[in-house]
């Protein structure tokens, strides 16, 4: 097989997959340009994206914008700090031997085994006891915890941070924590970006936690807001269109996050510095 036909075959596979992944999203976009969000068919019809956007952003005195801002407030901070915490923990699990290491690892796995639905009430009781239910912290603090991130960080740290490099840094007199921030983080960059993105999406899309914690509409993140609108569609049919347009809009921060982090995915970072 020549390189050209190999390339063509590869691109064909990618193209087919692109159609599969993007068609529903295209439908969503087209639907949000139609009047009333009444989307049938995959092409435009009575294009009125501007009107629809205006409707979403001004409904109920602009509560949707408030929700977007809230989501950004919950998500950016929680994802950034959460990724850092998970990365540090995964890194320690990968690079250091200490008593209770595997036990800790297994307990973290154990935590993820219990369905979140069963933890809703206890979490709510916990925050109620601290008189912090229905506040920003009730959503922000639990969102910091990312057990999957710890797992990912562990395998990426093990494979992308060579022990020799750490030894070299030690010999140079650098402390462990300093080595982490100056050496390891750079080597783990693609992994950290991946973990951050997953954490970002998970917090952004999480509406179970805000649902049980929040009653004040002004604190809602976008997904809970859309879910609430969607549940009122029977009484307020115009909300169906707003939900679609709002959903489309709420994908925008994801796009921005992704595009701005593109440059951190680079291959072959690990080897060069060793020489």
């Amino acid at each position: 097989m020549s390189v050209l036909s190999r390339r063509a075959a590869a691109m064909l596979v990618m193209a087919v997959c692109t159609v599969y992944f993007l068609t529903p999203l295209w439908w969503l976009f087209v639907g949000s340009t139609k009047p009333g969000g009444r989307g049938v068919g995959l092409w435009f019809d009575h294009f009125q994206l501007g009107t629809n956007l205006h409707a979403v952003l001004t409904y109920q005195d602009g509560i949707f914008l408030r929700w977007l801002v809230n989501s950004i407030g919950y998500t950016v901070g929680a994802a950034a700090i959460g990724t850092l915490l998970a990365a540090m923990c995964g890194y320690a699990l990968a690079k250091y031997r200490f008593p209770g290491r595997e036990t800790l690892f297994n307990i973290v796995l154990g935590g993820v085994l219990v369905p979140a639905t069963a933890l809703a009430l206890p979490l709510f009781l916990l925050f109620s006891k601290a008189h912090a239910a229905n506040t920003y912290w009730a959503v922000f603090l639990p969102s910091l915890v990312n057990p999957f991130g710890v797992y990912l960080a562990r395998i990426y740290a093990a494979s992308s941070v060579p022990d020799e490099l750490l030894e070299a840094a030690r010999i140079d007199g650098s402390g462990e924590v300093r080595s982490f921030f100056t050496v390891s983080v750079r080597l783990m960059a693609p992994a950290l970006v991946t973990i951050f993105l997953f954490h970002f999406v998970a917090v952004w899309n999480n509406f179970l936690l805000p649902l049980i914690m929040l009653g004040n509409q002004k604190l809602f993140p976008v997904t809970l807001g859309l879910y609430t609108w969607n549940s009122q569609v029977d009484q307020r049919p115009e909300l169906r269109g707003l939900v679609l347009v709002g959903a489309c809009l709420s994908l925008a921060p994801m796009l921005i996050a992704f595009l701005s982090l593109q440059r951190f995915w680079r291959s072959g970072l690990g080897a060069g510095s060793l020489k």
């Binding site: 916990l126 006891k129 009484q235 115009e238």
Partner: protein, 441 residues
């Protein structure tokens, strides 16, 4: 490691202690509030409701009552998560003062000891006659001198039908269920379905059973009795099973664009639904504007005048509220004053449970979508025909889920409605037993 475990154990125990305290500790706050006496000084109440734009209605109250300010909290509808939140909040001791609870959910809140008895608030008991009878028995559980919530809106049922299609095909508007079944055959011959049997709405079916005189749950104070297959319900189940078997009804999932499409494209010709269904049809099937009309629900015996109800909420005061007097005052205003009822109807098309609601200007006009018929007159008459002694069970979410699952199987041909109800009955009894609620059978 051992120290961490100890800390964990302590925290777990403290939360457990906290929750069990709140269930028995309510008696102290309850006793203080049982008097239903006015407070000295300004009061702030919290009120959770999912009625769209409820804030606008509450603003009217807040303007006029600077000493009793009401803060609105909202979220998805009750079964979409807010009921579960209420239960969690009751357990944690931080439930709001007031909450919206649908009639069929009230018993489960009563069973969790979450509702304050407003029987000691003379204003509330005096308001009994302002409400249509059956709504009052819904909120008082038939107990004299006790009332656990203030009725807000109602969903009396009637027959929405395509006047133009019936006339065009010379089909008489059915007044009895037998006529309805006969009409179904003619509609099928003309290429449509008389209606859609909604497997996702066991509470619509409950409305049918209610009209037929069923009593699904009875409570004699010592024991509950569950009877989802009593003669009246069996009759209704057999009737609809027949229509399903003969393929005279469609089985499209409700509340979807598919369903809207079925009505919009003349596939389905009638809908036996509640008053709020008027809005559902007009928004889901805009192409059929002007072609509909409303008639009373078909009857089992010619000349009868009975109706069922589908839906409706109340405003309850939760146990543990520190200001029951003010909360009751607000709840009464919200559900009996003309300005509040008008605003609620405007904001969310609510059909009031209060008798005065029938004379609201918005509810006495002709509605263009329905050929300028004064459709609310039909519903007002229907509301007076709803039997006042239909009781809901204390674990309706389970019952609805079980019945709904069984109905779905029936619609796809792998079961019957009667079997669904039989299974749901057994499962409900199990659920009650697992909660130590005394039940016969």
């Amino acid at each position: 490691m051992r120290r961490t475990l100890a800390i964990l154990l302590l925290s777990t125990l403290s939360i457990t202690a906290c929750s069990s305290n709140s269930s028995s500790g309510d008696s102290s706050t309850g006793a203080a509030a049982a008097g239903c006496a006015p407070a000295n000084g300004p009061v702030t109440l919290s009120f959770t409701s999912w009625v769209p734009d409820i804030q606008k209605v509450v603003d009217i109250w807040n303007q006029a009552n600077p000493n009793i300010q009401v803060k609105v909290q909202t979220g998805p509808n009750g079964n979409g998560g807010t009921y579960q939140n209420f239960f969690n909040q009751l357990k944690a001791g931080n439930a709001p003062d007031l909450g919206q609870i649908e009639y069929d959910a009230l018993p489960s809140f009563r069973v969790q000891d979450g509702l304050m008895d407003l029987g000691t608030c003379s204003d509330v008991t005096a308001a009994k006659d302002k409400f249509v009878d059956w709504t009052w028995s819904q909120v008082s559980f038939g107990e004299q001198g006790h009332v656990y919530a203030v009725p807000q809106d109602a969903g009396p049922m009637a027959l929405f039908y395509r006047k133009d299609l019936f006339e065009k095909n010379n089909i008489k508007v059915p007044t009895t269920w037998q006529e309805y079944a006969d009409a179904a055959v003619k509609v099928k011959a003309a290429g449509g379905y008389i209606t859609n049997f909604s497997t996702g709405d066991p509470n619509q079916f409950a409305g049918f059973a209610w009209q037929a005189g069923a009593h699904w749950f009875t409570n004699d104070g010592t024991n509950w009795t569950v009877s989802l297959t009593d003669p009246a319900t069996s009759k209704v189940a057999a009737y609809w099973q027949d229509l399903i078997d003969k393929k005279l009804v469609s089985a499209v999932p409700p509340w979807t664009d598919e369903w809207n499409n079925a009505y919009n494209t003349d596939k389905d010709w009638t809908w036996v639904s509640a008053v709020w269904g008027a809005n559902t049809i007009s928004s889901g099937a805009p192409k059929t504007s002007g072609k509909w009309a409303v008639a009373p629900m078909p009857q089992w015996t010619a000349g009868d005048q009975a109706a069922g109800d589908w839906g409706g909420s109340s405003t309850a005061v939760f146990k543990g509220s520190k200001h029951p007097y003010e909360a009751a005052k607000f709840a009464l205003w919200l559900n009996t004053s003309t300005e509040a009822l008008t605003a609620l109807n405007k904001a969310a098309s609510l059909y009031p449970a209060a008798k005065a609601g029938a004379t609201l200007p918005a509810l006495t006009e002709g509605v263009p979508f329905y050929g300028n018929q004064k459709i609310y007159d039909v519903f007002s008459a229907a509301s007076a025909q709803v039997k006042p002694d239909f009781t809901w069970g204390p674990t309706m979410t389970q019952t609805y889920a079980d019945a709904g699952d069984g109905f779905k199987a029936a619609a796809s041909g792998t079961g019957t409605l009667l079997k669904a109800l039989t299974d749901a009955q057994a499962s409900t009894i199990q659920t009650l037993k697992s909660q130590s609620i005394p039940v016969k059978g």
